[in-house]
Amino acid sequence: MTEVRKEPYLLEVKDLQVSFYTRRGIIRAVRGVHLKMERGETLGIVGESGSGKSVTARAILGLVDLPGAITGGDILWNGESLLHGKGAKARARKVRGKEMAMVFQNPMTSFNPLYTIGSQIREVLKYHLGMNKKQGTERATELLSLVGMSNPKSRVDQYPHEFSGGMRQRAMIAMALASEPKLLIADEPTTALDVTIQAQILELLDDLQSRLGLTTILITHDLAVVAGVCHRVRVMYAGRFLEKGSAEEIFGKPGHPYTVGLLKSTPRLDELVPRLYSIAGSPPDLRLPVTGCTFLPRCEIGEDSCGVTEPLLTGKKGAREVACYRSFEAESVIEAELEAEWEALARADD
């Protein structure tokens, strides 16, 4: 991009590195992540467990604790570093929970069981907005009705165990919104919920996002979730992004063999397949040094030459980028393979 930006990005992550120091070795969980968030947009980060997506989110909020540590890169909030330089720590403390808030994966355990939902929301209101108990209770009730909870007046004095899973996740979102944050990070917000409730929560997030002008990062392993809600999508694997682009681009024409595999392994009702595709193998051990493409051992179209140096994101800067030496080739290969199986099956039937 050649134009000079007048305004800094709301959030900019530069070459973020996070490592975990364990007894069995150093796990390099995040290995150079770049991210720029415009105000009001929704970004989806997709990847399987262990890909580093949750660690990235926690690092942004400053929640990486020992044995983990941010070992490199920078996180800028409104152009100011939250990691380096004078006053960075104080800035990060001020931003955390106030300007950016997080919704966690498991609503069943993410509330403290010993306090009422209202008092846990009030904590946020008291610390970040200086509200007293009465104002806090009023605002908490408003927030609960904002997230679509019926009977918020009595709900506010109830304990987490008196809520269903979906209700708790709604309350979690209400609590995250209490400080009127600019950025909302939702880490697998629907994973622990029933499918019908999942849809409701996603709808709620989508609705709040457009009504409140929130900037949202949605982390998930579920491609269907991303497709419905996100403007831009990143596919994460082994601590790095393998592919980035708009949701339509990535779902319409996946560029990386891993993305293709993820899409093909999602069951669909409108397509007849001989078997549900699955990506063989498992993610690489991030304690070992990386040589070449991290996806190579599981790749359908990989060649020996892929194993020499790790491919970087290439393509149109800021739009479609794929980190693969044979980008956009995998889809047809896998489809042909499935087609052949299909035919073999048909012949066997005859």
Binding site: L61, L63, R93, R96, G97, K98, A101, M102, F104, N106, T109, S110, F111, N112, P113, L114, Y115, E123, V124, Y127, H128, Y159, H161, M172, M175, S179
Partner: protein, 307 residues
């Protein structure tokens, strides 16, 4: 709620009856109380007379009925050793044990909770390992030996505290410390391990993500959750001190509490007093347990009365 209290009290009564039955049956059927209490050279006539005064010539069930009828009125009969009402002796000794145990446990709780929390914040650090090592040492020291060493050092050598007996506040220091030290060791270990667990709970991360100050996350969130197992152990320590450790410590320091009295009752072969002590201590143990149940309900809203 009322139903719950009644239920717990009824259960408690059953426990007390059970304890009394065991004590009653064991002292009367295993061995002969009369030959225990009378000198060897007692004549058969003396024995018969003694049996009659104690009611031991009656059938066992009648004896039991007499004991129960008396116990309800806190009338356990006269101590053979001191010749006055057994309950009077207990009423004098019990508050002294209470004071000692309360002093020891207050010290233990006040010391152990901050130390345990502090150790849990950086598990594996040298401070943590030092504190854990110290706790292990504290809970491993035999109490009678610890008491004797404290007497030797602070009582005899330095002369800071009296070596034994009951009286001024100075008298309570050494026995209370003796009683407290192993309890501190156990409590620190318990507080530390439950806090380490709680600090890894998802709600702690939520609190951090909300931008709450560290102290608030640690005390208001994690420690409140850790306080149920900790309260359980404090209750257990109280019971163990009242009904067990006090016997050792009070004997070492000649502290005229209930533990000291029970040893005396055994030495003097005072069956009446011993029976009364066991009965009263059993009631105290049951009462503490019921109190703990209410404490849990106060801490955790999920623990509800199911009626």
């Amino acid at each position: 709620m009322g139903k719950f209290i009644l239920q717990r009290v009824a259960q408690g009564v059953i426990v007390v009856i059970g304890v009394v039955l065991v004590v009653f049956v064991v002292t009367r059927l295993v061995g002969d109380p009369v030959s225990l209490m009378l000198p060897l050279e007692a004549t058969p006539e003396e024995r018969a007379a003694f049996e009659a005064t104690l009611g031991l010539d009656q059938p066992l069930l009648v004896q039991l009925g007499d004991f129960a009828a008396g116990a309800v009125r806190l009338d356990f009969g006269d101590s053979l050793w001191q010749g006055r009402a057994a309950f009077e002796i207990i009423a004098e000794a019990l508050p002294k044990t209470f004071i000692l145990v309360l002093a020891a446990l207050s010290v233990a709780v006040v010391v152990a909770i901050p130390v345990g929390i502090y150790a849990s914040l950086k598990p594996g650090s040298w401070i943590d390992r030092t504190l854990v090592g110290g706790s292990l040492l504290g809970l491993s020291i035999p109490q009678f030996w610890l008491g004797l060493m404290l007497i030797l050092f602070f009582g005899v050598k330095l002369g800071w505290f009296p070596t034994s007996g009951y009286g001024s506040w100075k008298h309570i220091v050494l026995p209370a410390v003796t009683l407290a030290l192993p309890a501190i060791g156990r409590l620190v270990m318990m507080v530390r391990s439950t806090m380490i667990d709680e600090l890894h709970a998802p709600y702690v991360e939520t609190s951090q993500a909300k931008g709450m100050p560290r102290w608030r996350t640690v005390f208001m969130h994690a420690f409140r959750n850790a306080s149920i197992p900790v309260a359980t152990l404090v209750g257990w320590e109280f019971i163990r001190a009242m009904a067990g450790y006090a016997v050792v410590v009070e004997t070492v320091f000649a502290w005229p509490g209930i533990g000291f009295m029970s040893i005396q009752a055994i030495n003097q072969q005072d069956l009446i007093l011993l029976q009364a002590i066991v009965f009263v201590v059993a009631i105290i143990v049951v009462a503490i347990n019921i109190g703990m149940d209410f404490l849990y309900m106060g801490i955790d809203p999920r623990i509800k009365v199911n009626s």
